[in-house]
C-alpha cells in the first residue's frame, strides 16, 4: 500500500507537470462551454420537455469531445515506460505489479475527474448569472456527475489495458479510442434493424452508456449501471495486471 501512494503521487505529478493535462482540460472545458451556451440558446427557441442537463449529456457533440479524452490521458501509462525501458527499473524495485497498475489507474482517474469537473460548474454558474429558478434538480446534477464518473472509471481502465499492450503510444491511443467507441456503439445496436422486444434488444440495452447517463441525469440512480461499470473496470485492470506480468510467465 505504501508503494501505491508513492507511485500514485509520482504519476499525478508527472501529469500535472506536463502541459498535456492543462491543454486537454482547457480545450475540453472550452468545447463544452460552447456546447452549453448552444443548448441554452436552443432551449430558448424551442420548448423542451427535458432538462438542460439531460439535453447536454444526450447531445452527440458532448460525447465526441468526451471520448477523445481517454486516449490522450491513458496512452503513455505503460507504453512510455516500456519504450524508455524505465519499466525495468520500476518492476525490479520491491513493488507489486498490482500496486503499479492501480497507482497508474488511480492517478489517471483523478486527472479525468479534474478535467471533467469544470463542466459541472456550468450549472450553478448559469443560475448565479441568470438568477433564474432552477430548471433542473440538484439530484440530476449529482446523478449525471456520478454517471460520468462511472463511465470514466470504465474507459480509463480500457486505456490502461491498451497502453500495457504496446510500446507505441499512438497505437495505444488508437486502440483505446476504438474500444471506447465500440462499447459506446454497442448501446446503439438496439436502434438498428432488430426486432423490438426481442431478448437481444433487451440485452444490448444493458450496455448502453447513453441510456445509463440519461436515466442518471434524470436523477434516477439505478444500481445496475453502477455494478456494470465497476465490475468491468476491475476485469479490465485484472487483464492489465496479467499483461504486465506476462513477461514472467514460464513458457
Amino acid at each position: 500500500m505504501r508503494a501505491f501512494f508513492i507511485l500514485f503521487g509520482k504519476e499525478l505529478r508527472s501529469f500535472f507537470l506536463s502541459p498535456l493535462a492543462y491543454v486537454v482540460m482547457a480545450l475540453f472545458t472550452f468545447l463544452n462551454g460552447w456546447l452549453f451556451i448552444s443548448m441554452v440558446k436552443a432551449m430558448q427557441l424551442q420548448v423542451s420537455s427535458r432538462s438542460l442537463i439531460y439535453n447536454l449529456f444526450s447531445s452527440g457533440w458532448f460525447w465526441m469531445g468526451y471520448f477523445i479524452l481517454f486516449p490522450l490521458i491513458t496512452m503513455r501509462l505503460f507504453a512510455e515506460e516500456r519504450k524508455m525501458g524505465t519499466i525495468e527499473g520500476l518492476l525490479t524495485a520491491p513493488v507489486r505489479t498490482a500496486e503499479v497498475v492501480l497507482a497508474k489507474y488511480a492517478a489517471t482517474v483523478v486527472v479525468y475527474v479534474v478535467i471533467v469537473a469544470p463542466v459541472f460548474l456550468f450549472f450553478p454558474l448559469f443560475q448565479a448569472v441568470t438568477g433564474e429558478e432552477a430548471a433542473f434538480h440538484t439530484g440530476a446534477v449529482w446523478g449525471s456527475a456520478m454517471g460520468l464518473f462511472l463511465v470514466g472509471l470504465f474507459n480509463v481502465a480500457i486505456g490502461t489495458l491498451a497502453s500495457a499492450l504496446t510500446t507505441n503510444q499512438l497505437i495505444a491511443a488508437m486502440l483505446t479510442f476504438v474500444f471506447v467507441m465500440l462499447h459506446y456503439f454497442l448501446g446503439f445496436l438496439q436502434n438498428f434493424g432488430m426486432v423490438p422486444g426481442s431478448a437481444w434488444t433487451a440485452g444490448m440495452a444493458y450496455f448502453s452508456t447513453t441510456e445509463h447517463i440519461q436515466s442518471l441525469s434524470e436523477g434516477l440512480i439505478d444500481s445496475r449501471p453502477v455494478i456494470y461499470y465497476l465490475s468491468f473496470s476491475i476485469v479490465l485492470l485484472a487483464f492489465t495486471h496479467l499483461i504486465v506480468e506476462s513477461r514472467k510467465w514460464r513458457v
Binding site: 508513492i6 525495468e88 527499473g89 518492476l91 525490479t92
Partner: protein, 357 residues
C-alpha cells in the same frame, strides 16, 4: 549471495540462456563477461526478477527469485543496460522517488539520497533535469539509484557502456570502492575493466558458461607460449638464425622492418624466460637494440582463447583454419598493436602466419 542452478531462458524458438549454474559469494566482485548476445542481460534480468526463468532457478541472499521475488528485489540494486531514467524528473527528485519505492522512510531517504549523490559525485547536477544530463552523469544517476538503499548485492549491466576513456577509468575506481561494501555482479564486454576490478570472471557465450575463475588463473591456464619482442639494427637472416640458436626458442618471426631496424617476435616454450640469454647474445654480437620486452598474456587473450574452444564456431570464425593455426595467429597478431585492433573488429577471423617470413 547468488546461487544459480540450471537457469534457462527460452524465447520462441531460441534459447538465450541454457542451463547456467554459478555462484557468487558474499563480498565478491564478479565480472560477467561475454560477446554481445551471449545471454548476459537475460541472465541478469532473471536474477533481478524482471524476467522469469523457463527452467531452473536461483536464490539471491537466500531467497528464491521466483517464490520470494519481493525479498530478492529489496536486497538487489540493479542498474539496467542503457540506464533508463525518467527524463522529466530532476536528479534529486528521481533519487528520492527511487529511495522511497525501495522502502526507505522520509528521513532515511533524505540521508540516503545525499550519501548516494556524494558517492557518485552528483552534487553539481542535483537540481538538473535528467533529460539535460550528459551520458556520463546519467550513468552515475543510474548507479546512485542502484545503491541508494544500500543493497547487499549490486547488479550492474554494462555500467561503462558508451562512456569516454576518462569516465571509464573513474567508474572503474568507483566500482572498486563500492566493492568494499557490496557484493557486485557486473556485466561487460570491456575486458580491461574486468581485469582491473573483478576478483573473478564468469565467461558466458551463446547461453553457456565457458569459464569461471580469477583473471590471473584464466591467463595462466591459457595454452599459449611465452613471447618476447626484440628490435635491433641489423640484417634479418643472420640475426634470426642466431636467435633461433638459443635454448627454449621455438620460433622467430619478423613483425616489421623499419629502415635498418628489425623487430622480431620470439616465441618460446611456455614458462621459459629467454631474455637474459638474448641480452648476452646482443652483447656478444654488439647489436644496437631499442626494445627487449616480454609480452604478458592478457585477459583478452584468455577470453579469445576460451571462446574459440567453444564447441560451435562463431559465424565470424574461418572454417579452413584448424585450431593449431588459430593459436599461432593469436601469438603473432598479439605482438602487433594494430593487428590487435583489427582482430577486435573482425571478430575471430584468423590470419595464419607464414613461417617463411
Amino acid at each position: 549471495m547468488i546461487e544459480a542452478r540450471n537457469l534457462t531462458k527460452r524465447y520462441a524458438g531460441r534459447t538465450a540462456v541454457d542451463a547456467v549454474s554459478f555462484e557468487v559469494g558474499k563480498g565478491e566482485i564478479v565480472g560477467f563477461l561475454g560477446p554481445n548476445g551471449a545471454g548476459k542481460s537475460t541472465t541478469l534480468r532473471m536474477l533481478t526478477c524482471f524476467l522469469s526463468a523457463s527452467e531452473g532457478t536461483a536464490t539471491v541472499a537466500g531467497y528464491d527469485i521466483y517464490e520470494d521475488s519481493i525479498e530478492v528485489r529489496r536486497r538487489v540494486g540493479y542498474m539496467p543496460e542503457n540506464v533508463p531514467l525518467y527524463p522529466d524528473m530532476r536528479v534529486d527528485e528521481y533519487l528520492r522517488f527511487r529511495a522511497r519505492i525501495k522502502g526507505l522512510g522520509w528521513r532515511a531517504t533524505r540521508f540516503a539520497v545525499g550519501e548516494a549523490m556524494d558517492i557518485c559525485s552528483l552534487a553539481e547536477v542535483e537540481k538538473k533535469m535528467i533529460s539535460t544530463l550528459s551520458k556520463g552523469y546519467k550513468q552515475r544517476v543510474g548507479l546512485a539509484d542502484a545503491l541508494v538503499n544500500k543493497p547487499e548485492l549490486l547488479i550492474l549491466d554494462e555500467p561503462t557502456n558508451g562512456l569516454d576513456p576518462n569516465q571509464i577509468r573513474q567508474s572503474r575506481e568507483l566500482i572498486k570502492r563500492l566493492g568494499e561494501r557490496h557484493t557486485i555482479l557486473i556485466s561487460t564486454h570491456i575486458l580491461s575493466e574486468v581485469e582491473m576490478t573483478c576478483g573473478r570472471v564468469i565467461i558466458i557465450d551463446r547461453g553457456h558458461i565457458r569459464a569461471s575463475d580469477s583473471p590471473q588463473n584464466l591467463i595462466r591456464r591459457l595454452r599459449k607460449p611465452g613471447s618476447v619482442i626484440l628490435e635491433l639494427k641489423g640484417s634479418v637472416e643472420p640475426a634470426k638464425a642466431k636467435i633461433e640458436g638459443i635454448d627454449g626458442v621455438k620460433e622467430v618471426s619478423v613483425i616489421h622492418e623499419r629502415g635498418a631496424w628489425v623487430s622480431f617476435a620470439i616465441t618460446t616454450d611456455p614458462l621459459v624466460d629467454v631474455r637474459e640469454d638474448l641480452f648476452a647474445l646482443v652483447q656478444r654480437e654488439k647489436w644496437s637494440i631499442r626494445e627487449l620486452a616480454s609480452r604478458a598474456a592478457s585477459l583478452e587473450d584468455a577470453f579469445v582463447d576460451i571462446l574459440q574452444q567453444s564447441p560451435a564456431t562463431t559465424p565470424g570464425a574461418s572454417e579452413e583454419s584448424p585450431a593449431l593455426n588459430l593459436e599461432e595467429s593469436i601469438t603473432a597478431e598479439d605482438l602487433d598493436e594494430s593487428a590487435l585492433v583489427a582482430r577486435d573488429e573482425e571478430g575471430t577471423k584468423s590470419n595464419p602466419v607464414d613461417p617463411a617470413v
